[in-house]
Structures are given as structure tokens and as C-alpha cells.
């Protein structure tokens, strides 16, 4: 069923349609909140709050394709409020860069959990305005236009923040990791390489 149909049914009082919207987007919204807040409990709370606001503001629900952007805008605002309350965000500095690269283990031998920890530490080291853009791009697969809509900014601002975050990423990535990855990919069949890209 399309979003449009679900939203229309929900606005006409169909509670099951709301549950349908919730089931469709809860995973994505939770993942976004988790990566923004890096705390599972807070992420669950903010995700629930986001959908409660959707329920409250059913009259203002957008029936167009921008519903997804609107949903993530609400989630984003809730996350920023939560971060502001807890003042947990850490600015990117030289110290946090050094902290990230502590393991000398080659990437192929790194446990999945270590890789996940690296990603989390890197995200935590970014300021929220850079973090949100990177998460919306890498985890939610939103386009530049959609990210601009969610973050209430322009497309050039989105690009600038995204590129800046990636510059930082290139700085903290171990050169050996990249060499190793390149060597490993050289040995892989072409089909797998295409699928990966």
C-alpha cells in the first residue's frame, strides 16, 4: 500500500493505517535516532515521541512524497533537543582523531563489533550538524534534496557538510586499511565489486 493511501485512511480515522505507517518507518527512524544519539534507550524514546507527534498532528500530515522528509525532520528535531538536554555531543578535534585510531589490527582481522565501534566513535566525534547529514546519506539513503529538506538548509550547505565530514573520515582512516581493502577487492570477481558499489 502506498504512503498516500495510508495517510489518507489515517486522517479519516483509521487507526490501523497509523499502525501501518508506524511499522513501515519505525526501523528507519530508530536507526537514525540511534546513530544520532548513540544510545539505545534514548533512541527508543525519541522514536516513540516522533510517532506520537505524527499521531497528534494527523491533520497536518503531508500526503505527498515529502512525508518521509517531514517524518525525519520531526525525528531530527527531537534528537537535537535530546542532545541539547544531555549536552553529550563532542566537537571534532585532534584529540578525538587520535582516540579513534587506537587499533593496529588490520581491517580484515577486525571483529565486526570493532568496526561498528569505530563507526560509532567516528560519528560521536562529529558535531551534530555534520553527523546528521552523514547519517541521512549513509544509513537512510536520502538524496541531497531530501537531506536539505530535513535539515531545513540548502543543497549546497548539505554538500559542504557532507564533504567536510568525509574529509575528516579520510583523515582518521588508516592508510593500511585502504591498501588492504584495495588489494582484497582486486582479488574479488568483478560482479561482486559492482554489487558492492
Amino acid at each position: 500500500m502506498k504512503d498516500f493511501t495510508l495517510i489518507e485512511a489515517f486522517q479519516q480515522g483509521d487507526e490501523f493505517a497509523f499502525v501501518g505507517i508506524y511499522n513501515r518507518y519505525k526501523g528507519g527512524v530508530y536507526a537514525f535516532c540511534l546513530k544520532m544519539l548513540l544510545d539505545s534507550e534514548q533512541a527508543q524514546d525519541v522514536m516513540q515521541e516522533t510517532f506520537l507527534r505524527i499521531y497528534e498532528n494527523r491533520a497536518r500530515l503531508l500526503k505527498t512524497s515529502s512525508f518521509k522528509s517531514w517524518l525525519y525532520t520531526i525525528a531530527r528535531n527531537q534528537c537535537l533537543n535530546s542532545l541539547r538536554r544531555s549536552s553529550r555531543h563532542v566537537g571534532f578535534d585532534e584529540q578525538s582523531e587520535r582516540k579513534l585510531v587506537t587499533s593496529e589490527t588490520p581491517i580484515s582481522e577486525m571483529e565486526k563489533s570493532e568496526q561498528v565501534r569505530f563507526v560509532s566513535r567516528f560519528l560521536e566525534s562529529l558535531q551534530p550538524e555534520y553527523r546528521e547529514v552523514l547519517i541521512l546519506r549513509e544509513y537512510q539513503n536520502l538524496s541531497y534534496t531530501e537531506i536539505a529538506s530535513v535539515t531545513r538548509s540548502t543543497m549546497s550547505a548539505v554538500k559542504s557538510k557532507l564533504f567536510k565530514a568525509r574529509r575528516k573520515l579520510a583523515k582518521v582512516m588508516e592508510p593500511e586499511w585502504l591498501d588492504e581493502k584495495a588489494n582484497k577487492e582486486d582479488g574479488e570477481p568483478e560482479q561482486q565489486k559492482i554489487e558492492k558499489n
Partner: protein, 175 residues
């Protein structure tokens, strides 16, 4: 491969590289990028780091804890209950304690009504004109009596309103 940590390429190839990585670069522009990548170590390193980060970030399977749905539906039920509950507290309060928000239009209409009513009502008279303004008390003066003194100066009577000036003698003569 160039292992310098910072990216030192021009802005334009750098931008189209990211657009390519994000699926926003048109097919027509891709050959130009590939040509550049063949010659630029720093752009290749940047591309590798983005792809590696993407691969690492997908190692984590993010799933919502099962208890979350139940907790959410409970919160939703509470919210619905709160919004559906009829507030009777105002019924128990006396009318003069009731504080209600009044719209600007209603307030203006009320003010206009009071103004028109004020125009229609008769003006209350502040002075009773049925009674004489000045009540003179007559005083008989016996002119043959040398003891009585006639004062030739005017007498001023101050009342709440106009000031009346009169000559005492002439008034007495009229009486």
C-alpha cells in the same frame, strides 16, 4: 598510493566524486571522473575511505528491541485517553471564577454594544433645575433705625456653578 591524510585535489573533481558516490552524478559526467581518478591518488584514497566506511557501517544490523512496540502502543493509548477525557473541572467552578479566552472579534462586538447602549440611555442630570439656584433670605432693614448699617459693598454668593453678583441694597429694594 599517496598516503597523505588530507585531500589536496581541486574542488570540482572532489565534488563530482562525492556526487558519484551518492548516486547523484549523471552518466554523461562519469567518464570525466574516471579519467581524473586514474591520475589522482588523493581522490582514489577519498573514494576508498568512503566505501570502506560504508562497508563498516553496514556490518551492524540495527533492529528495534521487541519491547519498544509494546511500550509505544501503551504510550499511544495513554495519550488517546488524555485527549478524549472531558474536562469537567470548569463546571464545578462558579461562573465568576471561570476564565475563558475571548476572541478579539467578540471583545470588539461587546465594546461596541456597551458604547451604543451608553448613547441610548438618558443622561443623568447632575443638578436639579426644579429648585431655584439661589435662595435669598430676606432681611428687613429698618432705615429709620440709626443702629442698622447698610453695607454698600456688593455681596458675592458662591454656589456650585455660576457666581452671582448682586448689590445688597438693590436686592432689598426689590423685595
Amino acid at each position: 598510493m599517496d598516503s597523505s591524510p588530507s585531500h589536496s585535489c581541486d574542488e570540482e573533481p572532489f565534488e563530482i566524486l562525492h556526487e558519484y558516490l551518492d548516486g547523484e552524478l549523471s552518466v554523461g559526467e562519469q567518464p570525466r571522473l574516471f579519467e581524473h581518478l586514474a591520475a589522482c591518488d588523493s581522490c582514489r584514497q577519498m573514494m576508498d575511505s568512503v566505501l570502506l566506511f560504508r562497508r563498516m557501517s553496514r556490518q551492524e544490523y540495527i533492529s528495534l528491541p521487541p519491547a519498544t512496540d509494546e511500550a509505544f502502543l501503551k504510550r499511544l493509548a495513554q495519550q488517546k485517553e488524555l485527549s478524549e477525557r472531558i474536562d469537567r473541572s470548569s463546571d464545578r467552578n462558579p461562573l465568576w471564577n471561570a476564565r475563558r479566552s475571548v476572541s478579539v472579534r467578540a471583545a470588539l462586538a461587546l465594546a461596541a454594544g456597551v458604547f451604543i447602549l451608553g448613547l441610548l440611555l438618558p443622561m443623568p442630570s447632575r443638578t436639579n433645575y426644579s429648585q431655584p439656584l439661589i435662595q435669598l433670605s430676606a432681611e428687613k432693614v429698618d432705615f429709620s433705625n440709626s443702629d442698622s448699617v447698610v453695607i454698600e459693598t456688593p455681596i458675592y454668593i458662591y454656589l456650585d456653578g455660576p457666581t452671582v453678583e448682586a448689590n445688597r441694597i438693590s436686592e432689598l429694594e426689590e423685595m
